[in-house]
């Protein structure tokens, strides 16, 4: 079975704090892709990153970084020096090659206060 768990329902931080959003996934497939999407109040899901199961290198993009660890089936997302504009719901998602469905977690609502 494919499953994505985002245990943190809501996180509140003050601007400039670092924050990590957790994502744990389950799949029996060896070939799969992991994604993070941002959903601001406007409602559109904004693609942030796509990672395949054979590439465990961590990635950094500006204030965003992602830590992929197959040993713990986790794909965590860190925002450094958070800003008010980072306030949104963040979704982690999994697409296994054999399943061919994008499975989303329940999302983590991040609120960044000035």
């Amino acid at each position: 079975a494919q499953k994505v768990t985002q245990a943190q329902t809501e996180i509140s931080v003050v601007e400039k704090e670092d924050v990590t959003l957790d994502c744990v996934y389950e799949t029996r497939d060896t070939t799969y892709y992991l994604f993070w999407y941002k959903q601001p109040p406007s409602g559109e899901l904004v693609f942030l990153i796509r990672r395949n199961s054979f590439d465990e290198q961590n990635e950094i993009s500006g204030r965003y970084s992602w830590n992929f660890q197959k040993s713990t089936s986790s794909f965590n997302f860190t925002i450094t020096a958070s800003q008010v504009v980072d306030s949104a719901v963040y979704f982690c998602a999994l697409n296994s090659y054999n399943t061919d469905k994008l499975i989303f977690g329940t999302g983590t609502r991040l609120q960044v206060f000035p």
Binding site: Y32, G43, L45, F47, F91, L102, G107
Partner: protein, 119 residues
């Protein structure tokens, strides 16, 4: 490059009425998806098109939901008749096949969604 377009952005209807949503994918994207996102949950796939053919509609409630993509470009999703539990955001997404064949794990790009309220 223009993103995925959807209309209307908001719709309020009475139960048992009909409603239709429209989606225009990113130019050149062969695969189109419709998702339902209930408040507090992640999106759930309703139907997936590859060009104008249906790839997966296993989670589409076919007694009341229908979708088409006649010319392989834009698509409409219809609900008839609507129920209270259909209140949700309906998201359209599209993806571009990598290489020559469709890669089922291609990145999906989403539109702004249509927020449906059924009273």
């Amino acid at each position: 490059e223009a993103g995925v377009a959807q209309s209307p952005r908001y719709k309020i209807i009475e139960k048992r009425q009909s409603v239709a949503f429209w989606c225009n994918p990113i130019s050149g994207h062969a695969t189109l998806y419709w998702y339902q996102q209930i408040l507090g949950q992640g999106p759930k796939l309703l139907i997936q098109f590859q060009n104008n053919g249906v790839v997966d509609d296993s989670q589409l409630p076919k007694d009341r939901f229908s979708a088409e993509r006649l010319k392989g470009v834009d698509s409409t999703l219809k609900i008839q008749p609507a129920k209270l539990e259909d209140s949700a955001v309906y998201l359209c997404a599209s993806s571009l096949p990598m290489g020559g064949d469709w890669d089922r794990t291609d990145t999906q790009y989403f539109g702004p969604g249509t927020r449906l309220t059924v009273l």
